[in-house]
Amino acid sequence: MSSNVDAHAAHGSHADPHALHDDSHYIKVWGILVVLFAISFAGPFLGIRIITLMTAFGIAVVKAYLVAKNFMHLDIEKKFVVQLLVVCLGLLFLFFLGVSPDVMKHWGWNWRNDSAKNANIPEHILHEGGAEGAPEGAAPAEGAAPAEGAAPAAEGAK
């Protein structure tokens, strides 16, 4: 008896019990998620860094949205719940904004983080990395970064 009461109470706040979908709806969403995943997985194989990042993170955001909306039923949840979650995400970005000027840089007005540039890379890993075929992912990443890392370091040294 109590279980039935509980089961009804479970969706008591949803506008209409039948707003919850049939199983097929969720399977469809799952299908879309799998396709999106496949695209994001394939991204790196194209070798173009900007596309990889767009597919990887852009798709991650879309997938997250789909899971939140359809699986967690945030679309029919009370608005304040969504607002609460958005506020927490906002705090997260606030944290990132406030801290990144300190942590994300290799150099500042009066300092230079040489250690970051000279970080210990164990020999056997360095050599192995070349053999494994990872460089098509690694190389484009390396291409951009050392330039911006090297230039300020050179300036700082002057």
């Binding site: 009461v5 509980d6 009804h8 109470a9 008591g12 506020v87 927490c88 705090l91 606030l94 944290f95 406030g98 801290v99 000027p101 300190d102 942590v103 500042g108 007005w109 300092w111 983080n113 250690s115 970051a116 970080a119 210990n120």
Partner: protein, 568 residues
């Protein structure tokens, strides 16, 4: 349907109360009132511990190199461990458990007209985790090398490497204790917030909720939103300490400033987390003892929420000279000075509440007034520190110490005494001895100022903090400065000497105090509309609410109060 069934009429709160054994009643209870008392007593005990630490290190500062009675010789390592744990204990194991866990647990269900918290077993679990955290902290004193001495802020690399802090086990135990305390309060916070949001009596709308409940709820939300990054940081620091990762080690690509940010992103909202409940208690007390409604309920509510939000935007003012990006220092300076506005606003509202009221100088009222006065001093001195230019000089001096004690002492100590003296009759069905309480009040308040005013002067004169023996610094060891240190220490001794008055009063009155009725203060809020002490289930018939909590001296009534649950 199920919902209407629940709302229609809810008869007894005390459902099926089988007689409990002694163990279950005192140690295994799920009753929010018992759990509240467990938190209260644990917090008070830890308060004695924290006070003892302060006694020892202040004696060392006043009489350097002399053995301290009741402790012995204080070495540099001892001193560091004492100040570190004084801070940690007072914030995490005294202020939070007493103000939030004890009073929150006790008051929230009563003030919203419920029979218990919505998750009683989770409540019990929260306390048990909290107790374990206190035990682990205690254990850190008895391990090889001794307790952690890297300051309550635990900055790496000092806190990360045993070769620097010379206490191989202490820091990890300390960190685990703090992390467990966070877990306990996360669980507790969820309980409080869910209870206050959902379990309110029928008719209690948002603006009918007493300010004490609102403040504890807002504080819990702030805690839950701010502690996340520090939990992550604590895991990272623990890995650095125990398995040799380099999250905060610059030689390994890590960044110690990251820890500072992770810590203070929590640490600053934390001080408002403890402030708001104390302000909530003051709001309850000043309305009852001036027989006046709160001057501007919505203003207080919105400014509290605004303070809570703004508190997330000021954290780096603790790091002005740590090497952060100076442009960020500008931003945080502005936000820090801004945050003084809502809090000052609240103090003004409280003063306006008192103005023209029919004031009774009962003991709770004395504590509430002391809170407002002392906290204003603390707040104003914070503005000096918030200006990043001035902070270059003041940072890590005793000026900072005096500032945060002028804020923390009102919060944690004055707020606690205000709450206990006000709600004691409800909790134990008896009155405390009023004369003893008044003596305790005056000695405590005067002595407190005697400790920290010299510290302001010392700080402005350049006294750096966290130094265990100033005789090595000739410019700081002048006779005048040392005289101030001695004066501060003697004031502390006076303060400590007065506390047994309260403690004896507290425990004696629990058993032998004058019997108190349900509503000795003629107050409106729901906790006073049930027996003292409330039985299991709180209310014989769960109340319905018809009005706000501060309808005092209403012109349409003969009585100068109007309980929230009276139909007419």
């Amino acid at each position: 349907m199920a919902e209407s069934h629940a709302h229609a009429h809810e008869p007894h709160g005390h459902a099926h109360h089988e007689p409990e054994g002694w163990f279950k009643h005192y140690f295994w209870s799920t009753d929010h009132k018992m759990i509240a008392k467990q938190y209260l007593l644990t917090g008070m005990l830890m308060g004695v511990v924290g006070a003892y630490f302060a006694y020892v290190f202040r004696m060392q500062l006043a009489f350097p190199g002399k053995p301290v009675p009741g402790y012995g010789m204080v070495t540099g390592a001892d001193y560091n461990a004492l100040i570190t744990n004084h801070g940690a204990v007072m914030i995490f194991w005294v202020a939070m458990p007493v103000l939030i866990a004890a009073f929150g647990n006790y008051l929230i269900p009563l003030m919203i007209g419920a029979d218990d918290m919505v998750f009683p077993r989770l409540n019990r679990l929260s306390y048990q985790i909290f107790l374990v955290s206190a035990i682990i902290l205690g254990a850190s004193f008895f391990v090889q090398g001794g307790a952690f001495g890297g300051a309550w802020t635990s900055y790496p690399p000092l806190s990360a490497k045993a070769e620097y802090n010379l206490t191989p086990l202490g820091p990890s135990l300390w960190l685990i204790a703090v992390a467990l305390e966070f877990v306990a309060f996360l669980l507790g916070g969820i309980n409080f917030v869910t209870t206050a949001m959902n379990a309110r009596a029928p008719g209690m709308k948002a603006f009918d909720i007493p300010m004490a409940v609102w403040m504890i709820v807002i504080a819990s939300i702030m805690f839950m939103a701010s502690v996340g990054p520090l939990v992550a940081g604590a895991v990272m620091l623990l890995f650095d300490q125990l398995i040799g990762t380099g999250f905060f080690d610059p030689d390994r690509g890590g960044d110690p400033v990251l820890w500072q940010h992770l810590f203070w992103f929590f640490g600053h909202p934390e001080v408002y987390v403890v402030l708001l409940p104390a302000m909530g208690f003051v709001a309850e007390i000043i309305t009852v003892f001036s027989r006046k409604k709160l001057f501007a309920y919505k203003t207080v509510l919105y400014t509290s929420i605004g303070t809570g939000v703004l508190s997330f935007f000021v954290w780096a003012h603790h790091q002005f000279i740590a090497g952060i990006d100076p442009r960020m220092a500008n931003v945080f300076s502005v936000t820090t000075v801004l945050i003084s506005i809502p809090i000052a606003e609240m103090c003004f509202v409280y003063i306006a509440t008192l103005y023209g009221g029919s004031i009774t100088f009962s003991v709770p009222m004395l504590w509430a007034l002391a809170f407002i006065g002392e906290f204003l001093v603390g707040g104003v001195t914070g503005i000096f520190l918030g200006a990043s230019g001035a902070d270059i000089y003041f940072h890590d001096t005793y000026f900072v110490v005096a500032h945060f004690h002028y804020t923390f002492f009102p919060i944690a100590i004055i707020g606690t005494f205000a709450g206990i003296t006000y709600w004691f009759p409800k909790m134990y069905g008896r009155h405390m001895n009023e004369l003893a309480n008044k003596v305790h009040f005056w000695i405590t308040t005067v002595a407190f100022n005697g400790i920290f005013i010299p510290l302001f002067i010392l700080g402005a004169s350049g006294d750096h903090r966290r130094i265990f023996d100033y005789s090595n610094f000739p410019e700081l060891a002048t006779p005048e400065m040392q005289a101030m240190r001695v004066f501060a220490t003697i004031s502390l001794l006076v303060l400590l000497a007065a506390q047994p008055i309260f403690l004896v009063n507290f425990f004696y009155s629990m058993f032998k105090g004058k019997q108190a009725g349900a509503n000795p203060w003629n107050a409106n809020t729901l906790e006073w509309q049930c027996p003292s002490p409330p039985p299991h289930g709180n209310f014989d018939v769960l109340p319905d609410v018809y009005r706000g909590p501060y309808e005092y001296s209403s012109p349409d009534r003969a009585d100068d109060f109007w309980p929230q649950n009276s139909p007419s």
